[in-house]
């Protein structure tokens, strides 16, 4: 089980150490100085509580289906599909494009100046696609390698930066303005977004185990970022960090010169691969699970264990975005920020749906929900919504961000509508409740979607979840 935990942690930390995450952390440190520490701590507490609340609401369940079932039951199939498509796939394609292009530049400028950056980005995309197509084990092995390289490099540089080199005393942001504080809180919060996707590729955990893996990842990732950001502040002035788009590269150069530049080059490329691998693996499985729930055309749902068609779709979209020069426009960054804001909204909605379900199950009838289990999801949902609002209002270009959010929402509505139409057809009575997955003849290898039976009668029994192994195929037991 230790290996399973390690693999799960490697998947989860993939997003935390990507070059885009390091950019967010650098800008956060630049904006708030050492004030980033309480903001990061607050963000970890927020997400920790989110994990606890969603688990109690029966959402953080290794059975990924529960999430889709909950949303479909609470909001109907169209709204559920829009919510699922608006943040995760949007971020997956936009962030993957940005990260691969960034890795291409890093390789070109740090390692081989004659190698075209676009060529390297395309090469990485191909490698990650092949890893994912080869199967979950190959993808997990790749993830372990990428994450280990990135964490080792970043931790090594952080230690050197903290204890050696020409350090200066970090500047404390004097009289942090309300706007800077709000912006900093928003940046700290989005730095951890994405852990919820873990349920789509770790099906051997009980709900409490999965929640613990996520919480461990949040704390360990948070500690690493605190070390790194502090080391960065020892060497680069906050004013410079707040403005630059390559704070990690500047910091690595200041900490360890040309060696630091090479190490951060490895960290950036490995971190980009880890994040893209995680997004591809989990989002492809989510799309396949949606197809199996009749929210998307069944063509995507042939397997949730090895969702080749969804993987190809994601890779083709990313390839097209790179080839058409989307990365060369400011809209890519704006779309990433918009997807992250929408993801916070997604957290809020799923907490709201879970809380409502919990209140209905615990307090049948018109009685107002008053238990801790029902109040907590609503409070965190409110906090997530407020942070999303703060991110919009404090953005460099709130109008453009709002336009991007609107465009992504519109696209999600179109894709969700078309997906439902193709999956269910006109005039077919839609099933807003439980999908017919468990009755499908084509049993998938992955118990995440097809072989788990929820414990208890409802989503909110306090120990709802799936019993791994129950109804598994003989093949699954052999693989276990």
């Amino acid at each position: 089980m230790t290996v399973q935990y390690l693999i799960a942690l490697a998947w989860m930390t993939g997003l935390l150490i990507s070059p885009e995450a390091l950019l967010v952390q650098g800008n956060l440190s630049g904006l708030c100085g050492l004030g980033f520490i309480p903001l990061l701590a607050a963000a970890i507490i927020l997400h920790w509580t989110n994990v606890t609340a969603t688990r109690h609401a029966g959402v953080t369940d290794p059975a990924a289906l529960v999430e889709i079932k909950l949303l479909t039951g609470a909001l109907g199939p169209l709204s559920a599909s829009v919510l699922l498509l608006m943040a995760r796939p949007a971020l997956a394609v936009c962030l993957a494009t940005a990260l691969l292009v960034t890795a291409g530049f890093v390789f070109n400028e740090v390692f081989l100046y004659w190698f075209p950056n676009f060529g390297f980005a395309a090469l990485l995309l191909t490698i990650i696609l092949v890893l994912n197509l080869a199967g979950p084990r190959a993808a997990a092995a790749g993830q372990l390698l990428f994450t280990a390289a990135a964490i080792a490099g970043l931790a090594g540089l952080a230690v050197v930066g903290l204890f050696n080199g020409d350090r200066t005393t970090p500047e404390t942001a004097t009289a942090l303005s309300m706007t800077a504080g709000a912006r900093g809180a928003g940046l700290a919060a989005i730095g951890f977004v994405g852990y919820d996707l873990l349920r789509y590729n770790n099906h051997r955990f009980y709900p409490a185990q999965l929640a613990m893996v996520i919480k461990t990842g949040l704390v360990m990732g948070g500690l690493l970022l605190v070390l790194w950001n502090t080391a960065v502040l020892f060497h680069i002035a906050p004013s410079r960090l707040a403005d630059t788009s390559i704070p990690h590269i500047l910091a690595a150069k200041a900490i360890a010169g040309s060696t630091g530049r090479i190490i951060i080059g490895i960290v950036a490329i490995a971190g980009a691969c880890a994040a893209v691998n995680y997004l591809f693996q989990t989002v492809a499985r989510m799309l396949a699970t949606m197809a199996r729930s009749h929210l998307l055309p069944t063509v995507f749902g042939h397997s949730t264990h090895r969702p080749t068609r969804a993987l190809f779709t994601l890779a083709v979209i990313v390839g097209l975005l790179m080839a058409t020069g989307f990365a060369g426009t400011d809209w890519l960054d704006i779309s990433i920020r918009a997807s992250l804001v929408l993801w916070l909204v997604f957290y809020a909605v799923i907490l709201f749906a879970g809380g409502r379900k919990a209140s209905q199950e615990r307090n049948p009838g018109p009685a107002l929900p008053s238990s801790r289990v029902t109040i907590r999801p609503f409070s965190i949902a409110l906090a997530m919504t407020v942070i999303a609002g703060m991110l919009i209002t404090t953005d460099d270009d709130p109008t453009a961000l709002f336009q991007a959010i609107t465009a992504i929402l519109a696209l999600a509505v179109v894709f969700a509508g078309a997906g439902l139409f193709l999956a269910r057809g006109i005039g077919t009575k839609t099933n807003t409740g439980s999908p017919h997955i468990r009755k499908e003849k084509n049993h998938d290898e992955n118990p995440t979607t097809s072989d788990c039976l929820p414990v208890g009668s409802g989503l909110n029994t306090g120990r709802s979840g799936c019993i791994p192994g129950r109804q598994r195929s003989a093949d699954d037991h052999r693989r276990t």
């Binding site: 960034t102 530049f105 890093v106 400028e109 390559i246 060369g328 890519l332």
Partner: protein
């Protein structure tokens, strides 16, 4: 203009090199051509008239 042609001209005082990269092309890059000045392509109207037309102006975007 090829890379070699530009290289040969880099010390020319009548040469103006403008970096007009956008998005990730600009933000991910650590370097720019020696002596180049960054010019936001969206703000073309603001900086277009600030350079003498008698000079050789080279713009690069990737």
């Amino acid at each position: 203009m090829t890379i070699d042609e530009l290289k040969a001209m880099l010390d020319d005082p009548d040469l103006v090199v403008l970096d007009v990269r956008r998005g990730k092309d600009w933000k991910s890059s650590e370097f720019k051509i020696q002596g180049a000045a960054y010019a936001k392509p969206e703000a073309y109207e603001q900086w277009a008239d600030t350079y003498s037309k008698s000079k050789t102006i080279v713009l690069y975007c990737a």
